[in-house]
């Protein structure tokens, strides 16, 4: 693959920020209640009617902010998983991270007393806990002869993920109808939980994790040279792989605690970013964060708009959009 036509990275990143801002404004415009562009702008500076202000500032804006945070985190999580396994098909949904948070949430829904379930932090805790435990299991099973081979890590992640999914099916069989409905809506991935309240807990963790992820950029670049070369250059390969995997798991599961399973994003958004800026993680991380944010903002806004007042969950639309994008790539690269 050549990259003769690649543009200056900071210019490309600026363009992506611009695209994301346009998507945000469009998203503010779309929804069940038709609002004109000037009404939206007025509401943004608190000059609209009470209803307009409410719709724009309390309903639409927090969802867009949450979408951006979640999209960025899921995409960066995908980049990290791909980097540490040297495989561009790795993503939170393929290595068992999503299955882990799903299982954690399901166990909480079935076994936790209703009083605890109503706590806002409960879903987050169940999601993060489940994902971390499952990832630890995957890492422990992959550890062999003092090393964790990336291919082994992926395969074991897939296997353990399937195991977790089977347990989720088993659990869903003994659920009552109400709980089951909650599970299904969670599985389809939706940003309906995107309120200012949930953002106050989501935003700090996402921002801290994104910064920590960025500090791994150079190490992930060296990973691309293979384990032997990376070790020779003074990278503690196993430890760095462990840390990166932990960070990626945290990022994906924190988001899953709010938005459920948005599976395809961690695969499609990083891929899009790679196409645009290449493989240098110092540029790829911000680009992937932006492409993820853009992707999810678009998916959620379209989901709210297309068949309003009926809402299509963002996870479903991401699947459709991402799938279409991949098919387009496959068809285009025939040779």
């Amino acid at each position: 693959m050549s990259r003769t036509s690649r543009m200056n990275p900071s210019f490309v990143l600026c363009l992506m920020v611009l695209a994301w801002l346009v998507a945000l404004l469009t998203g503010l415009n779309l929804g069940a209640t038709p609002l004109s562009f000037s009404q939206v702008l007025n509401a943004l500076v608190l000059r609209g009617t009470w209803t307009e202000n409410l719709i724009v500032l309390e309903m639409r804006l927090p969802r867009l902010v949450a979408s951006s945070l979640i999209g960025a985190s899921l995409s960066v999580s995908g980049v990290m998983l791909q980097g540490l396994s040297r495989n561009e098909l790795a993503s939170p949904s393929t290595v068992g991270v999503n299955a882990g948070s799903g299982l954690g949430i399901m166990i909480a829904l079935v076994f936790a007393p209703i009083g605890v379930l109503q706590q806002p932090w409960m879903m987050m805790l169940a999601s993060v806990g489940g994902a971390l435990l499952l990832t630890l299991l995957v890492f422990a099973l992959s550890y062999r002869r003092g090393a964790v081979l990336p291919s082994r890590l992926l395969l074991i992640g897939i296997a353990v993920g399937f195991g977790a999914n089977a347990m989720m099916t088993l659990l869903s069989l003994r659920m009552d109808f109400v709980t089951y409905n909650r599970v299904v809506s969670w599985m389809s991935g939706s940003i309906t939980g995107g309120t200012w309240k949930s953002i106050t807990s989501l935003a700090p963790s996402c921002v801290v994790l994104l910064i920590m992820a960025y500090s791994r950029a150079r190490v992930l670049n060296v990973f691309a040279l293979g384990d032997t070369a990376a070790k020779g250059l003074g990278v503690a390969v196993e430890w760095q792989r462990f840390v990166t995997l932990g960070l990626a798991t945290l990022m994906a599961s924190v988001c899953a605690g709010v938005a459920g399973q948005i599976g395809f994003l961690g695969l499609a958004a990083p891929h899009l970013a790679r196409q645009i800026v290449g493989q240098d993680h110092r540029v790829l991380f911000p680009a992937a964060a932006l492409s993820g944010a853009l992707f999810l903002v678009l998916a959620d806004s379209l989901g709210r708009h297309l068949f309003s007042p009926v809402e299509i969950p963002a996870g479903v639309l991401v699947g459709i959009l991402g799938g279409a994008y991949f098919l387009f790539l496959l068809i285009r690269t025939k040779d």
Partner: protein, 261 residues
């Protein structure tokens, strides 16, 4: 002056011991060639010396301290190693690959200092590939790619250079080119070089010191002229051979006659 020795070193894969209680001393500022038949443990030993494997017994000492107890990044400033076949993304330029050699010297964000830039250009020049700095790895021939990897190892600015079969997969012209580069580095910059070589004659010609391995033990070691004998070739490589002395370069060379197995 960095000094590398192994003491009572055992290395194993999956519980199967490949190197058995081996001790050796790498002569500083010289070129050492590791030779031996397939499966004798040359590559394993090199990996052990480069701290890429944890010993099951004994230790490798770099400047008097066990190499495994030293921070790996600090070791990378004293010792560079080259894998048998490096894999790098094809859309990396040579200069970008070589810049990875500065990794052990950089902080989290990896800003390249002026010194880094200077070292980088020198490394390219020493490997004889200054003109290829902006070429993509995917466009290079096997020999050029090998030189790019060597330049990366040079950019680590280490006194010790450990290479695993640097000439395998190359045609003859490129083999000689790589070996000449290494020889120059040793002569001009006093780098200590350890390399695994398959070709005994190349080893004899380009090294000052040879270590022959059989079944994970040192079977012979010393200057090429003293150890390249018919007796050693029979014992180590199981071949009957004639050994001649090339007077033009004062190095021995062997002509294999038949297998003794």
């Amino acid at each position: 002056m960095s000094h590398l020795i192994a003491q009572d070193l055992s290395l194993a894969y999956d519980g199967e011991e490949v190197i058995h209680r081996l001790s050796l001393d790498i002569p500083t500022q010289q070129i050492t060639a590791l030779i031996g038949p397939n499966g004798s443990g040359k590559t394993t030993l090199l990996r052990g010396l480069a701290r890429l494997m944890v010993p099951t017994r004994g230790a490798v000492y770099l400047d008097g301290r066990a190499i495994h107890t030293q921070p790996t990044k600090q070791v990378a400033r004293k010792l560079a190693t080259l894998p048998q076949q490096g894999s790098a993304p094809n859309d990396l330029t040579v200069r970008e690959l070589v810049a990875f050699g500065r990794f052990p010297y950089q902080g989290i964000l990896g800003r390249r200092s002026l010194e880094d830039e200077a070292v980088l250009e020198t490394a390219l020049a020493d490997a004889g590939i200054s003109h290829l700095g902006d070429a993509y790895l995917g466009e290079l021939s096997g020999g050029q790619r090998q030189l790019a990897w060597i330049a990366m190892a040079l950019a680590q600015s280490t006194e010790l250079l450990l290479l695993d079969e640097p000439t395998t997969f190359l045609d003859m012209a490129h083999q000689i080119e790589v070996l000449e580069v290494l020889k120059r580095l040793n002569a001009n910059q006093k780098r200590t070089i350890v390399m695994v070589l398959h070709d005994i004659n190349q080893a004899a010609r380009y090294s000052n010191h040879m270590i022959a391995l059989v079944d994970g033990r040192v079977a012979a070691s010393g200057a090429p002229k003293s150890i390249l004998t018919t007796e050693m070739l029979a014992r180590v490589f199981k071949i009957e051979a004639r050994v001649l002395l090339r007077e033009d370069i004062d190095a021995p060379y062997c002509i294999p006659l038949r297998s003794l197995t």
